[in-house]
């Protein structure tokens, strides 16, 4: 793995970590304040952001594995 890629990968994962924290925040908001607005945001936007963050991790992990296998 080149130095450039070594730096690049954690930056993407830091974005993913930040997104996951935002998504978790929305979901926790819906639990603490179960009114239509928060529940709608928590169970749709919150989960979409969380799914995106995990998708970023999955893409990074898969590309990392493929690179190692070459």
């Amino acid at each position: 793995m080149s130095d450039e890629k070594l730096h690049h990968t954690p930056r993407i994962l830091r974005v993913a970590a930040f997104l996951a924290l935002v998504g978790l925040g929305f979901m926790m908001w819906s639990l603490v304040d179960p009114r239509p607005g928060p529940v709608l945001v928590g169970l749709s936007l919150g989960q979409a952001i969380g799914t995106l963050s995990f998708a970023i991790y999955a893409v990074v992990a898969i590309s990392d594995i493929r690179r190692r296998m070459r």
């Binding site: 993913a16 970590a17 924290l21 979901m27 639990l31 529940v39």
Partner: protein, 224 residues
């Protein structure tokens, strides 16, 4: 924080989220190299624990949407929810809410679609209500909303028949029931109409004071 936030599911969701947050904040602050251990921790922090938190939050969120308090939190529905929990109201909604089987979930129990896809259809309809509320009715005065907001399609007798099967002798003993049996089953005569058991939410009707005499019987809301 509401009572729902103290349920075991909510606490499980909080716990998963807290563990995930601790892992992710540690990752963001320390900025470690991408070692195998870091990858495993990220798998837990971005995958396992958030998924656990989301799954339990989903179930808890679904439970929250079945509560009358949830429906009544939109100001245009507040009078319906208040009337339903009013122990002195003689409306059908209130009479049924006094039945513990309906209880604090009386809106959902009566208005849910039944059948194989009933839950999904009900939730889709609920999403539509939330959307309409935020786009059209959020700033509507209460008195205006009582006149303008109506149920989207006539309330189906099938929902009443989930409990009142129309098959039992006690139900068939009533002459009006016998006379209108087919119409009731077909849905061409509504159980919740002025001529039968009265409106579910009579305060929204101009002739809301008209309540059939048989509703004063203590067991009029009991399943038969």
């Amino acid at each position: 924080m509401t009572g729902a936030a103290h349920s075991p599911l909510a606490l499980m969701s909080f716990a998963c989220a807290a563990i995930a947050a601790a892992i992710l904040i540690g990752f963001l602050v320390k900025r470690p190299m991408l070692t195998t251990m870091t990858r495993v921790m990220l798998l837990l922090g971005l995958g396992a624990f958030p998924i656990g938190s989301a799954a339990t939050a989903n179930v808890q969120g679904y439970e929250a949407t079945t509560a009358r308090e949830f429906c009544g939190s939109c100001h245009v529905i507040t009078p319906y929810a208040s009337d339903s929990k009013d122990k002195n109201s003689r409306g059908l909604a209130s009479r049924h809410s006094r039945n513990p089987w309906f209880g604090d979930r009386s809106c959902y129990t009566c208005h849910a679609d039944y059948g194989m896809f009933g839950t999904v259809l009900t939730k889709m309809g609920g999403m539509r209500h939330v959307w309409l509320y935020y786009t059209e009715y959020k700033d509507m005065p209460l008195e205006e909303s009582k006149q303008k907001i109506h149920i989207r399609k006539p309330y189906p007798n099938e929902n009443c028949m989930q409990c009142h099967s129309t098959d039992l002798q006690g139900w068939l003993k009533a002459p009006d029931h016998r006379a209108s049996l087919e119409d009731v089953r077909k849905g061409s005569v509504s159980c919740a109409s002025a001529g039968c058991h009265g409106y579910a939410h009579p305060f929204t009707k101009k002739d809301g004071a008209q309540m059939p005499a048989q509703l004063s019987a203590p067991d009029a809301g009991a399943p038969r």
